[in-house]
Symmetry: C2
Subunit: 348 residues, 2 copies
C-alpha cells in the first residue's frame, strides 16, 4: 500500500540519518541536494526518507530558519459582516493558489473582539505563526493600521488607503468604477434622476464609490438631481433605503447601489411594492461575488476581481517577506461592467 509508516510517532531527520548511517546534519544536506554529499549517500538518504515517510517538522524548520513558512489572512470581526462570506472565500482561494505554488501554509485569523483587530494581526505576526499577513476591509477610522504599516512587519492591504501612502495595497479604482456604472444608467438607459445607496462611509470603498457616482452625475450636468442615501453594504440597508425613499415619495428613475447585497435588498423591496425592475426602476449593484448572477432579474454590476486581487496581494507579500526592493506601493486591477437584466440590458 503506501510507503508511509502508519505508526503515530513522527519520523525525524535523525531516524532517516540513522537508517543510512550518517549524521542528521548530513541527512539534511542530502535532502537539500547539497553537492557536499556524495551522490550515493544523497540517493540513499532520499530513499530512506521516502521509506520512512519523513516529512520535515514545521516547527523545527521555522525555529531554525526564523521563518514560519506561512502567510495569514486577517479577518476582523466587523468586516465579516460587512463584506460577506463569498468575498472572503474569493480572497482565500487567491491566497491559497499562490501559497501552494511556494509550498506555504495559509493561516486564517478571525478576530473575536471588536477593538482587537490589530492586536489579532500583531499576535499572528509577532508569534511568527505567519511571516506576513493580508489585511482587508479595514475602516478608515482604524488608526492602528497606521502603526502597523509603520512597524515594518510584512503586510499587504486589500482595498484603497490613500491616507496610508507608505502601505503596500492592492485594489481597484472604486471612483472610476463607480463613475462608469453610473454612466451606464445615464447613457445607456436614459436615467436622469439617480439615487445612490452608499456603503459604510467610514470605509474608503464606500466613500470612493459615492464620489464616482457624484462625478458621473456632475459630468452629465445632473448634479442637482443626485440623491445620496447612506447604507452599510448589508441587504437590510438596501431594503430600508428603498422603503424610505418610497415612503417619502422621492422621485427617481434609477438606483446605483454600492454593492450587490444592498441591490438585492432594494430589489426585494421594490418588487414587494409592485415596482418592476427594470421596467419601473432600473438598478445596478457592485462586486459580482456571486449573488448578482442568481437573482431575478440578474443584477447588472461591476465585476471586482477579488480572487485576482488576493493573488496579487500574496505575491506582493512574498516580495516584502523576501526583502525585495521597491515593491510597488499601489496596484490596481481592472474591473469590468457585467450587464444583466436589472438595468434593462438583458431580457428579464
Amino acid at each position: 500500500m503506501t510507503k508511509t509508516d502508519p505508526s503515530r510517532a513522527s519520523v525525524t531527520l535523525k531516524d532517516v540519518a540513522a537508517l543510512v548511517g550518517v549524521t542528521s546534519a548530513a541527512a539534511s544536506m542530502a535532502l537539500a541536494g547539497s553537492s557536499r554529499i556524495s551522490q550515493k549517500t544523497r540517493e540513499a538518504v532520499k530513499k530512506a526518507a521516502d521509506d520512512l515517510g519523513y516529512v520535515p517538522s514545521a516547527a523545527g524548520r521555522a525555529l531554525r530558519n526564523q521563518r514560519a513558512g506561512a502567510i495569514a489572512l486577517i479577518v476582523p470581526n466587523t468586516s465579516k459582516h460587512v463584506f460577506g462570506h463569498s468575498y472572503f472565500m474569493h480572497v482565500l482561494t487567491g491566497m491559497s493558489t499562490e501559497a501552494n505554488i511556494r509550498d506555504l501554509q495559509v493561516v486564517l485569523s478571525t478576530t473575536t473582539e471588536q477593538a482587537g483587530d490589530v492586536a489579532a494581526y500583531d499576535r499572528v505576526v509577532r508569534s511568527r505563526s505567519a511571516d506576513g499577513a493580508i489585511v482587508t476591509s479595514a475602516a478608515v477610522t482604524d488608526s492602528n493600521l497606521e502603526d502597523l504599516v509603520a512597524s515594518g512587519l510584512p503586510v499587504v492591504l486589500i482595498g484603497n488607503f490613500p491616507y496610508l501612502p507608505r502601505a503596500v495595497t492592492v485594489g481597484i479604482d472604486d471612483v472610476a468604477a463607480g463613475r462608469e456604472i453610473t454612466e451606464h444608467l445615464l447613457a445607456q438607459h436614459g436615467c436622469t434622476r439617480l439615487v445612490h445607496v452608499t456603503g459604510p462611509l467610514d470605509h474608503q470603498t464606500g466613500i470612493d464609490r459615492r464620489d464616482g457616482f457624484l462625478a458621473a452625475m456632475d459630468e452629465a450636468g445632473l448634479g442637482d438631481q443626485a440623491v445620496i442615501v447612506e447604507g452599510d453594504f448589508s441587504e437590510e440597508a438596501g431594503r430600508a433605503a428603498v422603503e424610505t425613499l418610497l415612503d417619502e415619495g422621492a422621485v427617481f428613475d434609477g438606483i446605483v447601489f454600492a454593492n450587490d447585497d444592498m441591490a438585492f435588498g432594494g430589489l426585494e423591496a421594490l418588487t414587494a411594492r409592485d415596482i418592476p425592475v427594470p421596467g419601473g426602476v432600473p438598478i445596478v449593484g457592485f462586486d459580482d461575488f456571486g449573488l448578482s448572477r442568481v437573482t431575478t432579474p440578474g443584477i447588472t454590476t461591476m465585476h471586482t476581481p477579488a480572487e485576482e486581487m488576493a493573488a496579487l496581494a500574496s505575491q506582493r507579500l512574498f516580495d516584502l517577506i523576501e526583502g525585495v526592493e521597491n515593491v510597488p506601493a499601489r496596484s490596481e486591477l481592472p474591473v469590468r461592467l457585467v450587464a444583466r437584466a436589472s438595468c434593462g440590458c438583458l431580457p428579464g
Copy 2:
C-alpha cells in the same frame, strides 16, 4: 500610543528575562503563573512582557510542546467544485469560532493535484503544522481515507462514512432528510410522479439522499413512478437534467434535487421553457447554504447546519488531540425543512 515595540526584531523570552534580571526559565514560569516564582517577580515579568510587547514564538512552543497549536481544514481540489464556496466558508466559520476559544490557529490546506488529496492531509499532520485536521466531502472511492483513519492521527470527517466505522464523523442523517423533503412534496403538494436528480453517486451524500427519496416514494406506494436522474451537485447538472427530461417528454409533477445548486440550474431551465415554478412543476433543493434564499422563487430546502457541524467536528478533534477516551464515533445534527416558494408553500 500602543505599548508594543514597533521595531522589526522580535522580542523573545530572553529579552523579557534580561529586563527583569531573571533567567528565561524563570520568566517562562512567571508568565505561566507558577507559584514557584514569587508574586513580586511574577508581576515584574508580566509587566516587562507587556512593555516589550512579548508574544511567545509559535515555533519555539511547538517544538518544545510537540504541539502545533493549530488545526487544519483539508479542502481537496475536487471537493471545492463539488461543494462550493459557501459550504467551505460555513465550515471555516465554525472551525474558527471553536479554535478562537482555545487560542488555536486554523490552517487551510487546499490540494493542487487530483490524486494527492490524502498526501496533502498527511503532509500537514506529519509536518506537525497542525495537531489534527478536519476532512470533508471525501469520495466513497477514496480508499486512502481508510489508511488515514487507521493511522491514528487525529482526524474528524464531516459527512457520512458507513464504510469507516472507526472514523470519528459529524454529519446529518441524509437518508431521513431526503425522505422528509420528498414526503413534503408528496403529502403537502399532492405530487405523485417525482423525479430525483442525484448528487455524485461516488459520494455518500449523493447515495443517501437518493435512498431517502426512494424510501419516501416506496412508502407512499409510488415506487413505480420514481425517476432517478444522475447529477453531480453542479448547477449545470441540474439544468441538463431538466432539459433532458423535457426533451424526452418525461411525465412528472415535481422534482427533488439533491442540492440547491442543481435546483437553481433546474429552475432556470424550467423557466427558460416557460414552465412556471411552482405552478407548472414544484421543486425542492437541499442545503440552504445561501443560494436557495435569494433565487426567485426561493427554493424550499433542507437546512444543513454546516457551521454547527464544523464547530462540533472541531470539538471532537480537540478531544482526539487531547487523548480524551471514548470520543463518540458518530454525531448527527438535526436538519430542518425550510419552506419557500418553489414548492408552492409561500407566494412567489
